[in-house]
């Protein structure tokens, strides 16, 4: 397939600039010397909220409407949780959950 170099370059450039914009905007908006009190508060608590939403975002492809009704994802999440309660070791928990997921998506 023949690619259009100038066009492709523009698309990548736009994606890069827009991505940087979304990451930089908070720093631009709150660039003044004194950080507002509510930003300090949010910086302490918002990550805990975002991490939960990020888990949901990661699993958004789960299909609940047909067999196996998201069982692979749900069981694998429980496997991460269970493994973490037992092992208290991040690496063990991640490997346990991922192996569980890879097996279940092939078996179910």
């Amino acid at each position: 397939m023949k690619i259009d170099t100038a066009y492709s370059f523009c698309v990548i450039l736009i994606c890069a600039v827009v991505t940087l914009f979304t990451r930089a905007l908070p720093f631009i908006v709150f660039s003044r010397e004194k950080t507002p009190e509510y930003i300090k508060y949010l910086s302490a608590v918002l990550p805990r909220t975002i991490m939960v939403i990020l888990v949901l975002y990661c699993l958004r492809g789960t299909v609940f409407s047909e067999r196996p009704y998201g069982a692979g994802e749900i069981l694998s999440c429980l496997a991460v949780w269970g493994a973490h309660e037992v092992s208290r070791n991040m690496y063990v928990s991640i490997i346990a959950g991922t192996v569980c997921y890879m097996l279940l998506t092939r078996l179910l």
């Binding site: 990548i12 994606c15 990451r23 990020l54």
Partner: protein, 232 residues
């Protein structure tokens, strides 16, 4: 270089997810007729997993530049909320600060908000190495997919779950460490609610916006529970 060693240890959970997603992206680029240099440039300058994968479809379809810009914005709009946690932290990082802002992906964000640096480490240098190491994994993944995707025989489908598993571990550890469980509960309830109402493709941004508003409303309760004082 104990900071680099620390970063290498902290970024292991991201390694597999980035290699796998990067390889998928590289293979898609290869199939679409793009040589490794394009994958390399994307990995280096765009550095956003889900957007890069969508970008391949945009390139293949010859989508208009405005469409590309809007798509990129909406896919990455969640990043608007990440910087809030690091306004002061990154500002204090001097020459490293622009790179820290540029490289604030989901995965780097989650390591940085959960990392316990302990004593005797230069925190700024450690955070910088965490960001840089993840970026390098991503570049290696994208290049590998482009150059060798065709000859990789293994079926690694599903290994991307390691990113979700890592996020779950972070949630568990934050839950146990924090006095107020409200922030996590808000995320779960609001996220699940919008997921049910708006569906998987549109729930993210409304969830984030509503969560910020609810956290602001619950501010006094959470502050008391967390023992946050009002001065400075």
């Amino acid at each position: 270089m104990k900071e680099l060693r620390f970063a290498l240890k902290k970024t292991v959970p991201v390694l597999f997810a980035y290699l796998f997603i990067g390889i998928s992206f590289g293979m898609m680029m290869y199939t679409a007729g793009y040589s490794w240099i394009w994958s390399f440039l994307s990995a280096l300058f765009v550095y956003a997993g889900s957007l890069q994968i969508v970008m391949v479809s945009l390139l293949k379809a010859g989508a208009g530049l405005m469409t590309c810009a809007l798509t990129a914005f909406f896919i990455n709009a969640r990043h608007l909320f990440y910087g809030i946690a690091f306004i002061e932290r990154f500002r204090a990082m001097g020459w490293r600060s622009p790179y820290m802002v540029f490289s604030l992906t989901d995965e780097t964000y989650s390591i940085l908000v959960s990392a316990d640096y302990g004593e005797g480490l230069n925190r700024d240098r450690a955070a910088f190495f965490i960001a840089l190491t993840n970026h390098i994994y991503w570049i290696i993944g994208c290049l590998t997919g482009s150059l060798a995707g065709r000859i990789l025989p293994w079926d690694m489908e599903g290994i991307e779950f390691s990113a979700a598993a890592f996020f779950i571990v972070v949630v568990i550890e934050q839950w146990e460490k924090s006095a107020s469980k409200l922030p996590a509960c808000v995320g779960l309830i609001v996220g699940a609610l919008f997921f049910l109402i708006l569906g998987p493709d549109r729930f993210l941004i409304p969830s984030l916006v509503s969560s910020v508003l609810i956290l602001m409303l619950l501010g006094d309760r959470i502050r008391i529970k967390e023992g946050m004082t009002d001065e400075n």
